[in-house]
Symmetry: C2
Subunit: 152 residues, 2 copies
């Protein structure tokens, strides 16, 4: 199932960014946190496109959506969510070998504070802004993961 | 089921932009065609978020994905796809009342020509570019819809 050169195949449930896992997916806090709680939902098998996701895997993704949205609402009072399945980066390779994953961006009509770091969503009601990025210290990352794990 | 003030509730299978429909979703060519074949997948019931989509509706969405991707590959040799469920615009209202829909953007590692209009994807391998828009005459729109309908 795994592809030895695929970084998405390397994610493990032991990853410090893991929020929760289901039979077919892993939910991990994304590196970039301009929208606090931004996460990746990674299929636990190397599959190339959404068309290749099985009925069973898609049904399980439905459970992930419900659980993640409920957790981000409970933890940070997230207002709504942007879900995307893109996989563009893989296609810069000479021989693209994509691995299905989703990006979940909670969006906020209010400011959120985690360990004294303020997170705002100045583009709320608009498309997310990829030019605005937010670096966070390791302790804040751990706190975000902990809050989402507890709420999930 | 329908909300009388929701423009997404007003879409009908008789819409000239309809590509195909399934028990729970309608697939319509989007107004903006910078990525040729760009379409909207609209739930046939007024539901507020992806968490509200039922297991049956999500399973049917899986069939939509397979059918749409296969059609865009057959009609225009689409290379891969970006799928997004955003719904940001609804949240500019004082009382947001969103309606679940998806945006499907076929992406291309080559130029496509439809009725002598050339469509390029200069951002292939990167995030889609919302600043680049492509106006198309009515006859080209009809041709794109016809090609996708035939291939679906």
């Amino acid at each position: 199932m795994a592809n030895t050169t695929c970084k998405f195949c390397e994610f493990s449930a032991k990853d410090e960014n893991l929020i929760f896992e289901t039979p077919f997916w892993m939910v991990l806090l994304a590196p970039e946190q301009s929208y606090v709680g931004r996460s990746m939902v990674v299929l636990k098998r190397h599959a190339a496109s959404l068309s290749d996701v099985t009925a069973e895997e898609l049904a399980d993704f439905g459970s992930v959506v419900k659980k993640f949205e409920a957790a981000a609402k409970k933890a940070f009072d997230a207002t709504m969510f942007n879900w995307t399945c893109m996989m563009n980066d893989f296609f810069r390779a000479a021989i693209p070998d994509p691995h299905v994953h989703w990006h979940a961006r909670p969006r906020y009509n209010h400011t959120v504070e985690v360990s004294h770091v303020r997170f705002t969503d100045p583009e709320f009601g608009q498309h997310y802004n990829r030019d605005r990025t937010q670096e966070i210290p390791g302790n804040v990352r751990k706190e975000i993961v902990a809050k989402l794990r507890k709420a999930a």
